[in-house]
């Protein structure tokens, strides 16, 4: 069967299971947009290509399946670079199709020509420039394979216009037809390493599991729960792993790192065995690396060999898919301990003391904030806690980047994997609105809320128009502090309150009117007693986007905090937690 390259591309996307494409057309990709009309694909027309990229990421976060974005050459391609870089940092599977000028025009500075494969080389797992229409099915199949296997990531296919228009003979390849001689991800853990790791786990007196985004990507939540419950080892979940184990689980210690809670941070510092599963010792987790978990031996599981030894040298490095490795660890530990004595085994004196120590930290330094004075605006933490209590368990929470993101991660109770969508590695302001849109498209059955900053919102708010047009009922809570709040916090704490270019204004733009102009429902909350009603109202709207402008206390800061470059031992719990600790009567303070 003869097809044009454009038809072959669309049919290849369908063959790879694509249901939705986020994109925006233009000259060089025009031929591909024609067969979309006759295809099974749902195309969502975004208002800016960055939005297409983040929507594809949101879709991937929420579903675990690759997001697909399609844009034109030149400015279309450069506009999506931020989203590719974001997906690359957070290992999000994504396939991006870009139009390109005709092959003969490449290199001539043709209209809307850009060196897209060159520009995106360092922010994609791989990219392809198609030079023959006959290659299209194979390249598309390879692209999905590379994006979703091993360490997932974004890939890009650059498709010149004349290739889209030329003819090819249709076929559908299988993996044996792939031309990827250098790509063989190693998924199976080495049995010897597993045995050694299991021995360490059995012998450890103060172990902690450090779970990262790899647990979510590998769909290893259940396996993790089983290992943690078997060994009674507490689990910290990084910013990328929130929800990998439920925050309600007694073994879940919450988020570690720069804005992690006291117990999560300190238990890592004090542990004698750190079991790192699909995490990468990011500087936001480790603080000063030489002072990170100084007493710990490290077991490090990652599917990407380059992560092993990159930052911290592990005693036991294990290259493997997280799920397979965790399952093997559970088996090996079970075999070592023997079924009969299981329960007693983990009740050794040092292990009981460790559990007691952790409980003591949790008791003495819980996540609390000053609820008493809301005269200068509602408390952001109260907004998040109330929102949590008024939304279903499996609500998908999306966030932007800044203070609101940290509060969301700290105060939301995550109860399922793939319910937290945020930009961790790149820290991309403007992520939330389009990512929420993508998440809702992927999981229309779920309620999707975004917690956004006023600064972030202004970067990509135009995608609310997309949401209205496409009837994607996302809900957005702007924590409006009239500031680039996270930057303000650093200027307050580290630059003697010299505020430089961080003030935005609470009323400009008027978020309610702006939302209404984009076809959504705009609501505003100015005092604490309106929080609940307004959220209820937003929850009752299911046919269009809703935005709530929460006027929050601009002086509220994110605590605890480890100042950049400091050891995690220097954690500053902040005035509220300190006051709480001091209010504990002597006999209440656990030692």
């Amino acid at each position: 069967m003869k097809l044009t390259g454009a038809q072959a591309l669309i049919r290849s996307l369908e063959s790879c299971g694509t249901e939705v494409v986020f994109g925006l057309p233009g000259g060089a990709i025009l031929p591909v947009y024609d067969p979309i009309i006759d295809s099974s694909l749902r195309h969502i027309l975004v208002r800016h290509e960055q939005g297409a990229g983040h929507a594809a990421e949101g879709y991937a976060h929420a579903t675990g399946r690759p997001g697909v974005a399609m844009v034109t050459s030149g400015p279309g391609a450069t506009n999506i670079v931020t989203a590719l870089a974001d997906a690359y940092m957070d290992s999000i599977p994504m396939v991006c199709i870009t139009g390109q000028v005709p092959v003969g025009a490449i290199g001539t500075d043709a209209f809307q020509e850009s060196d897209t494969t060159g520009i995106t080389m360092s922010v994609t797992k791989h990219n392809w420039l198609v030079t023959s229409a006959q290659d299209i099915p194979r390249i598309v199949a390879e692209a999905f394979h590379v994006a979703t296997t091993g360490r997932p990531g974004p890939v890009l296919i650059d498709l010149p216009k004349d290739i889209s228009n030329s003819e090819m003979e249709w076929y559908w390849p299988d993996e044996s037809d792939f031309d990827l001689p250098g790509y063989k991800p190693n998924l199976r853990p080495h049995p010897r390493m597993i045995t050694q790791a299991a021995k360490m786990i059995v012998q450890a007196q103060r172990p902690v599991i450090y779970a990262g985004g790899g647990v979510i990507k590998a769909r290893a939540s259940e396996a993790l729960l089983e290992l943690a419950q078997l060994t009674k080892i507490p689990v910290v979940t990084t910013l990328m792993a929130r929800g990998a184990i439920s925050d309600d689980h007694p073994l879940c210690l919450g988020m570690p790192g720069m804005h992690g809670n006291y117990t999560a941070v300190t238990s890592i510092q004090q542990c004698d065995l750190l079991i790192c599963l699909g995490a990468r010792f990011d500087d936001r987790v480790t603080g000063k690396i030489s002072a990170f978990a100084p007493k710990a031996k490290v077991i490090h599981v990652d599917v990407d060999p380059a992560e092993l030894g990159k930052v911290r040298v592990a005693e036991i490095p294990i290259v493997a898919d997280c799920k397979l490795a965790i399952e093997e660890l559970t088996k090996a530990v079970t075999a070592l301990v023997g079924a009969s004595s299981k329960e007693d085994f983990w009740a050794s004196k040092p292990r009981l003391e460790w559990a007691e120590q952790i409980a003591t930290w949790q008791h003495n330094y819980p996540m609390v904030y000053d609820k008493s004075d809301d005269s200068s605006g509602v408390k952001p933490q109260a907004v998040i806690e109330t929102l949590r209590s008024l939304t279903p368990d499996d609500t998908i929470l999306v966030s932007g980047v800044g203070q609101h993101q940290m509060w969301a991660s700290q105060y939301w109770k995550f109860r399922h994997p793939n319910t937290w969508v945020n930009s961790g590695g790149l820290g991309t302001m403007g992520f939330a609105v389009p990512a929420a849109l993508g998440a809702k498209v992927g999981r229309p059955d779920r309620m999707v809320w975004a917690i956004d900053g006023d600064g972030c919102f202004q970067m990509t708010a135009q995608e609310i128009v997309t949401a209205t047009m496409e009837q994607i009922p996302i809900k957005i809570a702007i924590l409006n502090n009239a500031y680039l709040g996270m930057v303000r916090q650093w200027q307050e704490m580290f630059y003697e309150e010299r505020y430089s270019e961080v003030y935005l204004s609470p009323d400009l733009p008027d978020y309610v009117k702006w939302t209404e102009a984009m076809g959504g429902v705009g609501l505003k909350v100015e005092s604490s007693d309106e929080i609940e009603n307004t959220i209820d109202k937003a929850n009752s709207i299911n046919d269009r986007p809703v935005v709530i402008d929460f006027r929050i206390d601009a002086t509220e800061k994110v605590f605890p905090m480890v100042p950049a470059g400091h050891s995690n031992d220097d954690i500053v719990v902040g005035p509220a937690i300190e006051a709480y600790f001091n209010s504990l009567s002597k006999k209440d303070i656990k030692q």
Binding site: T117, P181, N186, G309, V319
Partner: protein, 175 residues
């Protein structure tokens, strides 16, 4: 951990843009390339890059692992300088007038080089050999006046050991 030169023999797919990917990776990760030679192999599907880097061994491990993540990189072997045959080629044009010409020619023959072009008071010399030998020759020629110099960068293969090449394969498949 010593700061010393390491030779990586990198088998890559013979596809457009592969050299750019390798070079971009070195620059993005902040690694320095000392020399890099790219050439086809006996199999038209692949090319071989011989990359010399001056780094600590821990950095070398990162370089090889990151390189191996490139989809077009098929195999990486680290050649231990003590276990490898390394060769380099140099072309030099040196000042050699009637007064110095015979001295230059004598040195060329001591170093087993070849005079490949002759001008009225200049000679162009070709010299192949171990990089250190080229360094020595270059230094000697400086005394006469080097007009132009082009070195090829190193190529290397593992020394044979009882008929079997001894390769320290570091293709990223850890443990």
């Amino acid at each position: 951990m010593s700061q010393r030169h390491h030779v990586l023999s990198v088998l890559v797919e013979n596809k457009a843009g592969v050299l750019a990917r390798v070079a971009a990776l070195f620059s993005r990760r902040g690694f320095n390339i000392y020399t890099l030679v790219a050439a086809p192999t006996d199999d038209p599907r692949f090319s071989r890059l011989t990359v010399v880097v001056d780094v600590e061994s821990s950095t070398l491990e990162q370089i090889t692992k990151q390189l191996f993540k490139l989809i077009n990189v098929v195999k990486i072997s680290e050649l231990d300088p003590d276990e490898a045959i390394e060769r380099e080629l140099a072309l030099l044009t040196v000042q050699a007038d009637v007064n110095t010409r015979s001295q230059v020619i004598e040195l060329v023959s001591v170093f087993e080089g070849k005079i490949v072009d002759v001008g009225s008071d200049q000679l162009t010399i070709m010299l192949a050999g171990e990089p250190s030998k080229l360094d020595g020759f270059e230094q000697l020629m400086r005394g006469f006046g080097i007009i132009d110099l082009q070195r090829s960068g190193r190529v290397a293969l593992a020394k044979l050991e009882i008929g079997r090449p001894k390769l320290h394969s570091v293709t990223g498949q850890a443990n």
